[in-house]
């Protein structure tokens, strides 16, 4: 269903390498990791990651941070996988077909899949696993599957999904990291039973996890290493130290400055992924003075995005243009005029709003996104040139998402990249969304976005999504200054490691994909 366009230009080199290896039928090429060359290794892959907490559980309904998600993908499989190009490819669901208008979909299950307890995968298991997130449930993935009205077993190998509103990209939607498959009726989340390449050996929440290879994993060229250890290392410097002193092979979430230093040392590799993760300063369009569209535009022209990119991210990112679709997405509207830093234009819009000067407060914390405080201070300086006095209010990181976000009329926030354009739009921009942080509500936008979601013709869909992006960019309350790359680093011994299309650490599936030299 997805357009066969390469989403990530910088990935092309790696993809070409892979193709050459396959054509040549060689085990491996020097300096270029080929999946086919992934010899099984006896070693243990050691990952030191941020995103773990003492309160973690392996119940997919509770996944909000990366360490349990990474472990979840070692133990269990999802329904649909996202490949390196960002396309939805089969995982436990082998193939799919929409009926007519993309409101009813038929999915075929992969056959011959066996759970770690010896049970074979059936449609009941898949239906149970999806239903964990539907109806009265504590799952944060409820919003992802709320479009599903009916989930039905057709026969021993097929299920049918009926939607409330048509979704031409339902398979990509079903790639959500919380939609992992367990046996029908399964509840023992301390010891998850899945169909993944590894089984759980030790799990100490917020400390470490060890999984061991099952053997006979159904995915070809996957699950190479004998065991995987994930250590929770919250402190960025401690993570870097652990990598340098050789106690872990892979770390996630390093900043641009550290990445530049690591790249100078040939013992390490730095992997950079453009996943559509973005920073945002959100204005509440229902509060004064942000209810005035000219005030919003004035604020958008008063920020120096290039400088932010250089200073805050050390260049590891892309300039944003106040709408959530990144430039490397096939649906990106190329004809959008960039909101470049222009104090004169900002003043012009202020005057159109009937003001000479503007005095507003911006609430931030580094919990909002990495470097949010620095970004706000830089913004303050740039905005002063346009006659805008910005009071930067530093708020505590603890409790930021409940006490500041969605409360303060102008505050920092962020969003992960999404696998579908609809995912990005539905989360924060449709008027029905509970996390519409800008309270920008336009019925016409909702109508167009839903129309685009159900549109099976990619060209027509691109056109509709283009209009949606124009609306958010010109009129919306989200000031999106930057798309932020995910940067991770590791030992040069880790092979088969590629940038992620979504999230980091190869979409958190690094465990089953890499091997050790």
């Amino acid at each position: 269903m997805s357009p066969p366009l390469a989403r990530r230009e910088f990935l092309r080199a790696a993809a070409l390498c892979g193709a050459a290896g396959a054509v040549g039928g060689m085990a491996s090429l020097s300096g270029c990791a080929v999946p086919d060359g992934g010899g099984d290794t006896t070693g243990m892959l050691r990952i030191g990651m941020a995103g773990g907490s003492t309160s973690d559980s392996l119940d997919p309904r509770t996944y909000v941070d990366w360490m349990p998600i990474n472990i979840g993908y070692q133990l269990m499989n999802g329904l649909v996988e996202i490949d390196a190009e960002g396309r939805a490819v089969p995982e436990l669901l082998e193939s799919w077909e929409p009926e007519g208008d993309a409101r009813v979909w038929t999915f075929k299950l992969r056959q011959g899949i066996v759970f770690h307890n010896g049970k074979s995968l059936t449609p009941e298991d898949v239906i149970y696993s999806i239903n964990l997130h539907r109806g009265r449930t504590p799952s944060a993935a409820q919003a992802v599957v709320e479009n599903i009205v009916e989930l039905r077993k057709l026969d021993a190998t097929r299920i049918q999904i009926t939607l409330a509103g048509a979704d031409a990209e339902l398979p990509a939607t079903l790639s959500d990291y919380r939609l992992l498959v367990v046996p029908d009726g399964f509840e023992d989340w301390a010891h998850p039973i899945g169909t993944g390449g590894y089984t759980l050996e030790v799990f100490e929440p917020g400390v470490r996890c060890i999984t061991r290879k099952v053997g006979g994993y159904w995915k070809p060229n996957a699950a190479h290493v004998e065991a995987i250890q994930v250590l929770s290392i919250g402190d960025a410097i401690a993570r870097t130290n652990a990598l340098i002193s050789g106690q872990v092979d892979v770390i996630n979430r390093i900043d641009g400055r550290t990445a530049d230093l690591m790249r100078r040392n040939p013992r390490f590799q730095v992997i950079r992924s453009q996943t559509g993760q973005y920073a945002v300063f959100a204005m509440n369009c229902e509060a004064e003075p942000y209810a005035n569209a000219d005030i919003r535009l004035a604020l958008k022209y008063a920020i120096d995005r290039e400088r932010l990119l250089k200073t805050v991210l050390n260049g590891y990112g892309t300039v944003g243009n106040d709408q959530p679709i990144p430039p490397n997405n096939p649906y990106f509207a190329k004809d959008l005029a960039a909101h470049t830093y222009d104090p004169d234009k900002a003043r012009h819009h202020l005057r159109k709003a009937g003001r000479e000067r503007l005095d507003v407060a911006l609430d931030v914390s580094d919990a909002a996104f990495f470097g949010a405080l620095d970004a706000a201070i830089l913004y303050q300086g740039a905005a002063a040139e346009a006659g805008i006095t910005l009071h930067v209010r530093r708020r505590p990181a603890d409790g930021y998402w409940s006490a500041v976000w969605m409360q303060a009329p102008f505050c920092g926030s962020y969003s992960d990249g999404r696998t579908t354009v609809d995912g990005a739009l539905a989360k924060a921009y449709k008027s029905t969304s509970a996390s519409n942080e800008t309270r920008w509500r336009r019925p016409e936008f909702d109508r167009l976005a839903n129309l685009a979601r159900g549109e099976l013709d990619p060209a027509r869909r691109r056109e509709l999504y283009g209009v949606c992006q124009h609306m958010i960019c010109d009129d919306g309350g989200a000031l999106i200054p930057l798309f932020m790359d995910h940067i991770e680093a590791g030992s040069d011994k880790v092979r088969g490691w590629q940038p992620s299309a979504i999230y980091d650490l190869m979409g958190q599936r690094i465990g089953e994909r890499v091997w050790l030299a």
Binding site: T54, D56, S57, R136, V207, N241, A434
Partner: protein, 314 residues
């Protein structure tokens, strides 16, 4: 004497009771609730309502405190809101780790501090005294995470002798465990050393100027027996108090060191719990820390009374 000890123990329990109330109501005042913290910014109102209802967040705080205290007195600290696991089961291994690290640091730091303090006092103004003073000033002026990073830079990154991660787990031998926690132990020793050394030195010097010391000196006692037999017992009370305070600090104040060395101790557990608004866990950690402090001070008081008979009549 017995009456005095009983009174102290009674005071200790009263202190704990007051702390329990403070803990409960202070944690109750934290902005945001566990439901929102658990689900993060992606929470839907329905999911929030489901969690809130299951946690009875609607009941009045006073009632919830009474229920909680009654359960705690029966040894039941409840279940973690975030994971549903028993709070005691979550806290026990982490608290043991904290005690192990603090204990090891104390075994090294206390004798070292007393020895250096006494030695410095015996040769006040001498070369050793000045060297010890300089070391103390250096370690006390530098934040503890910085000491940690310096040690990691030297011993892990440059020399490669010791691991920078102090992750402990069941399968490790004693030697591996000791190796893993060497750097955090050295860090903690350096952090608490100065306070104890300075206090020992100052307390002994102040006693040394007393008339009975002069008398003993005139009687012809050697300097060593003068300090150890006459000055030290009389200077013991303040030294014991400072040692107790520092031992307490080793248990409850080391979360920064835990973060730097990724040590799975109780401090990190409590920080995680606060971040997730996991109130039963926060309260249990708080009570455990408070009990450690109160208990150490109690022991210090009693030991001080034992070594110095004059305090028994207070």
């Amino acid at each position: 004497m017995r009456g005095l000890i009983a009174a102290r123990v009674g005071m200790g329990f009263l202190t704990l009771a007051v702390i329990s109330a403070l803990l409960f109501f202070a944690t109750d005042c934290l902005p945001g609730d566990v439901a929102a913290a658990l689900l993060g910014p992606q929470a839907t109102p329905e999911a929030l309502a489901t969690i809130r209802a299951s946690l009875r967040l609607g009941e009045p705080a006073g009632l919830r405190y009474v229920h909680w205290l009654a359960a705690v007195l029966h040894g039941d600290f409840g279940r973690s809101l975030a994971t549903g696991r028993s709070v005691v089961a979550m806290l026990r291994p982490r608290f043991q780790n904290t005690l192990a690290l603090a204990g090891l640091a104390a075994i090294v730091a206390v004798p070292l501090a007393l020895g250096l303090g006494v030695a410095a006092a015996m040769r006040a103004g001498g070369r050793l005294d000045r060297a010890v003073s300089t070391l103390c000033l250096l370690t006390i002026s530098v934040p503890e995470f910085f000491i940690g990073y310096l040690l990691i830079l030297l011993f892990s990154v440059q020399l490669g002798w010791l691991p920078s991660l102090a992750v402990l787990h069941g399968g490790m031998s004693l030697a591996q465990r000791l190796g893993a926690i060497t750097l955090p132990t050295i860090t903690l020793v350096l952090v608490v050393l100065a306070h104890m050394v300075r206090m020992t030195r100052a307390a002994i010097l102040s006693v040394m100027s007393a008339p009975y010391i002069e008398m003993a000196l005139l009687k012809g006692l050697t300097r060593g027996s003068l300090v150890l037999r006459h000055a030290l017992p009389n200077a013991a009370a303040p030294i014991i108090a400072v040692v107790a305070l520092n031992l307490g600090y080793l248990v409850v104040g080391v979360v920064v060191v835990e973060v730097v060395f990724v040590y799975p101790g109780a401090g990190q557990l409590m920080v995680d719990a606060v971040g997730k608004r996991d109130l039963p866990l926060v309260q249990a950690c708080g009570l455990a820390f408070a009990a450690t402090y109160v208990g150490l001070n109690l022991v210090a008081d009693i030991v001080a009374m034992l070594v110095n008979p004059r305090l028994r009549r207070a």
